[in-house]
Amino acid sequence: MESMEGPARPPQSPAKFVSPKVVALYAMLTALTTAVTMTLVIPLPTRGYYNVGESMVFFAAFTFGWRAGMICGGIGSAAADLLLGYGFFAPITLVAKGAEGLVAGILGNLKGGAPWARIAGIWAGGSCMVATYFFAEWIFLGFGVALTELPANVFQVLLGGLIGLMLSQAVAVYRNPRSKQA
């Protein structure tokens, strides 16, 4: 009879890959960001549309950290641009939302995610996003367009930050501890 050595450890993967949990989680968060960006749009009274995808960047950053916020928020949003037909925006979006997720994730998780930290994260991350879009639009589309888009982008960040924060609070209830039910 074999001696019991305690819980068996799964063999280490010989390939230097990130864990399957990360692959799966990041895939889901990215897909979620893209799907939400493409399907949930709120028509604003004054101008065009506000897309709820903004909140997913903050959600990923607050709940899963700056790496998730940067990668999933950045790639997810950029993919939405590609799939909606304005792929030339994708590189800009990648940088803008990636920076947003990065900064929001670092600042927003300070002191275990204290309220002031979250707000700092939204403010700083949002500023990165708005600034990136503003300067990119100035260069590529002209100062006029950049200026017109500015207030809308600011509003989008504020609303996205708010919803993203509420979302991360709502989901936190389920994550620790989660009882193993069907």
């Binding site: 993967s13 799966a24 989680l25 895939a27 792929g87 590529f140 979302l167």
Partner: protein
């Protein structure tokens, strides 16, 4: 309408058959080309080339119209707003207060708008003629690590699923009296949570199951994998690549080395 029109369309054009790596390279070089050219005349030529590519790729008219609906709005904004902020050159056509509308200003605005068209078109041609699977494979072949590529591929595969889930959840909550199109900003934010929370939790639960599925399929046992269909460059792919690089390099040289007005 929501954006889940799959841009990729099955067809057998020359562009569909081209190696996706060449197509990606083309997008990069042609985008750079659009960015360095600033004369309206040459940009229009480039735009013509883009339209030609769309035709070669047998782009569907309706999908193209859908994709360009947003871009055309941006182009219009540029044409209208650019001259207001660009008072350079002569002749001055209109003047009120600090704002000077000049001929060159208008032309610059038009040029920028055409450039945006070219940029949008080249990306659109890529998305239109390349399946998502081929895109990811091209990236992996170009050096993207397999696990990242896998995550990307899984993400793309779940897009339509999540799109459907979001719609289903919207329906389910509407059946409980939720009205997504009413209310001030604060109310709407709360309303959207009723859709976002179930969607997110569903996604996270799927992630858990997926992680298990990956492990049970020997994820990580090898650093690479074999594919049923390998990507390989044909002679015509190399030719196309050379043409595209030349298409960029020659104007680049003309403009920056020979100082020709481009």
């Amino acid at each position: 309408m929501t954006g889940f029109v799959d841009l990729f369309t099955e067809s057998n054009s020359a562009l569909h058959r081209m190696d996706p790596r060449v197509k990606i390279a083309s997008v990069i070089f042609l985008s750079l080309l659009a960015l360095i050219i600033s004369e309206l005349g040459y940009l229009l030529v480039l735009a013509g080339v883009m339209v030609l590519l769309l035709l070669i790729g047998r782009a569907s008219f309706s999908k193209t119209m859908f994709a360009f609906s947003y871009v055309s709005r941006v182009m219009l904004l540029i044409v209208v707003l650019w001259p207001i902020f660009d008072p350079s050159g002569t002749p001055v056509l209109l003047e009120f207060g600090p704002i000077k509308i000049t001929g060159p200003g208008i032309l610059a605005g038009l040029a920028t708008a055409v450039r945006v068209f070219c940029l949008a078109a080249v990306w659109y041609v890529l998305m239109f003629t390349t399946s998502q699977r081929d895109l990811v494979r091209a990236l992996v072949k170009l050096g993207l690590r397999f696990d990242y590529g896998l995550s990307l591929a899984i993400s793309l595969r779940f897009l339509p699923t999540f799109g459907a889930t979001v719609e289903s959840i919207k329906d389910a909550q509407r059946a409980r009296g939720l009205e997504l199109d009413r209310g001030g900003v604060a109310k709407r934010a709360r309303n959207y949570l009723a859709v976002l929370v179930p969607t997110t939790i569903t996604a996270l639960k799927t992630a858990d199951t997926l992680a298990l599925a990956l492990q049970s399929r020997a994820y990580g046992a090898r650093a690479d994998r074999t594919y049923l269909r390998e990507l390989s460059m044909r002679a015509i792919d190399y030719v196309a690549l050379v043409v595209v690089v030349a298409a960029f390099a020659l104007p680049f040289a003309a403009k920056y080395l020979l100082s020709m007005p481009l």
